[in-house]
Symmetry: C2
Subunit: 350 residues, 2 copies
């Protein structure tokens, strides 16, 4: 695996939007402090000064690098992200993202509104050249830790060119973050044959085939678990449904196993296996979801994260920076965009 | 639960395409014979005479109603369904479906090519009035046995009017087959709010809201397990991916649990819990999938079914007939179509 961080690497400067999520700032601050023990980081906590200071005082941070940068208010899940950015210019996610923009932090982590995080990333950090929307990606199942899904976010009705960008970004992630050489890219469909799938998939198939990516063709729902592909590309509509479906199924099966094994196992072992099942189907709650395609490192955590999930998202953020995802992704997108112009592509291949 | 079949009900005449599936005719015949013990049926086996006769002789059918109707050849998964229907007019699925058409059988069951079964159903039995495509539906998870998904099949790029038809057909199935009064219909999306989702979902939302169905709005991936909706409506692209994803995840978790509990449980108990997990995520392999929207009863089984899966699909077929799904679905579709003409709808409500 690449870039686990060498001992002489400088600490990664992580800024946390402590107000985000269902349990901020209590669990976000607690998780951030936990992360200080796991990773070589400098912490910048952004949030309403009084409450965050109070949370901070619950922990011993002697000798640790922790800075508090005050913000005013937060943007909720129920707000229109772009309007909210305008009306709340000092909101925690805005202040936090600006610290990455100004170079005062290496990466921003938020458990808050996905829409607000994506909007502030796009407006403040800017989209990578040649991309029309950012996306969320990564592995999302503990039982399939080497399978990267892009887009796991909320891009609806994606055009084929955007699906191609997802593939490029996912490929870089699989290579740099997971250490997979020449990642195999599969397009999520309802059958392996080229003609299978909806119009979007059929058109994306052609584009992917023409690209320099290691495209292996269509894959199906079961292929998240067969190891056929390292990166599975889908529309954010399907990706979002799959992620939430997996969470739900994991929870249901966790209960199912508990019922079936009651009596056969000690209550401690029972709780353990049930919890393990839940965890393995809820990876984004334990490691966050990296945002791809903006000119800066951003990791979104699950809104219902408690401290350990916050620490997990911070760990992902640290690796995001250490493996240099932003630069590699920019480079890959520029290759992909060259590929769109056949003459330029030929030249590049000479 | 409605219509479990009363003792004085006449036997249901079930015709089986014995050539279909990965293990036909051996497992299809074996499963059909098993079904004779479970359900009050008369069996009609369709297939290549020699091989089916040979399979039949492996079983004791003394005193049982079993008829063999010969056919020639079968249609494979790799063939274009409509062309194959033309070139193989005596193929098993064609002969079997014709027996329902002529009134000599009440329901046809096939483990063969889904495309061929759907095409022969549409061409021979005809689509219900007001419908542009048939669909597959039903519960597909043992941990969510009361949640009906439509379309679980292969209708891609569905227009909103077709999504409305799926909802109507699913509603009838939930009511008649599962005994749910006034089934709650949810539209599968990425958020509960009306504005959430892709264009298809947004447009379908409006149509569903205007209908007389008990539409509760958008539901999300986890809602297959929350009991919020009795029927979840989606495009066949998403439905197919979800079904295969659930199968794959079930298999992966089954292995996961086996690994984690090795040592803590006897190998027998271990095999049992692992098998239970697999079963509960593979319901279509054990009960088949009913086809909705054609003028006759049709149940498709999973291609990789062994005998017990064939018997399960036959059980589904028997209930399909006993609860009178075809007539109820026709009636519901005609209500829905009236609803499309506002004046007629008002009249109906007076």
């Amino acid at each position: 695996m690449l870039g686990n961080g060498r001992p002489d690497d400088p600490p990664v400067r992580v800024v946390i939007d402590t107000m985000g999520g269902d349990f901020g700032p209590r669990e976000t601050v607690k998780g951030a402090i936990q992360a200080l023990s796991n990773d070589n980081i400098e912490l910048i906590l952004v949030g309403d000064q009084g409450p965050v200071q109070a949370e901070l005082e619950r922990h011993d941070t002697t000798g640790r690098s922790v800075t508090l940068v005050p913000s005013v208010d937060k943007i909720g899940d129920d707000e229109h992200p772009i309007q909210a950015l305008r009306h709340k210019p000092k909101a925690s996610i805005v202040v936090a993202t600006k610290l990455v923009k100004s170079g005062d932090a290496d990466v921003v982590v938020s458990m808050g509104s996905t829409g607000a995080s994506m909007a502030s990333s796009v407006f403040l950090l800017g989209l990578m050249e040649g991309l029309e929307r950012p996306c969320l990606g990564g592995p999302f199942l503990g039982v399939a830790p080497g399978t990267v899904m892009v887009d796991a976010g909320s891009n609806m009705d994606c055009r084929p060119a955007l699906m191609l960008s997802f593939a490029a970004l996912g490929s870089v992630f699989a290579h740099r973050f997971l250490g997979i050489e020449n990642p195999r890219i599969g397009l999520l469909s309802v059958g392996a044959e080229e003609a299978k799938g909806n119009k979007q998939v059929q058109e994306s198939y052609a584009l992917l085939q023409q690209s320099h990516l290691n495209f292996i063709g269509n894959v199906e729902g079961m292929d998240f678990f067969t190891g056929r592909a390292d990166v599975i590309v889908c529309d954010g509509f399907v990706g979002n449904i799959l992620m939430k479906f997996a969470e739900g199924l994991g929870g249901a099966l966790s209960g199912f196993v508990k019922d079936r094994l009651a009596g056969a196992l000690s209550s401690q072992d029972l709780a353990k296996i049930s919890d393990d099942l839940w965890q393995t189907t809820n990876m984004p709650r334990t490691m966050g979801g990296p945002l791809f395609g903006v000119n800066g490192a951003v990791v979104l955590g699950h809104g219902s994260c408690e401290a350990s999930g916050v620490a997990g998202a911070i760990h992902t953020a640290v690796r995001y920076v250490q493996v240099g995802l932003v630069d590699s992704m920019k480079e890959e997108l520029s290759q992909i965009n060259k590929g769109h112009q056949p003459a330029a592509k030929l030249q590049a291949e000479d």
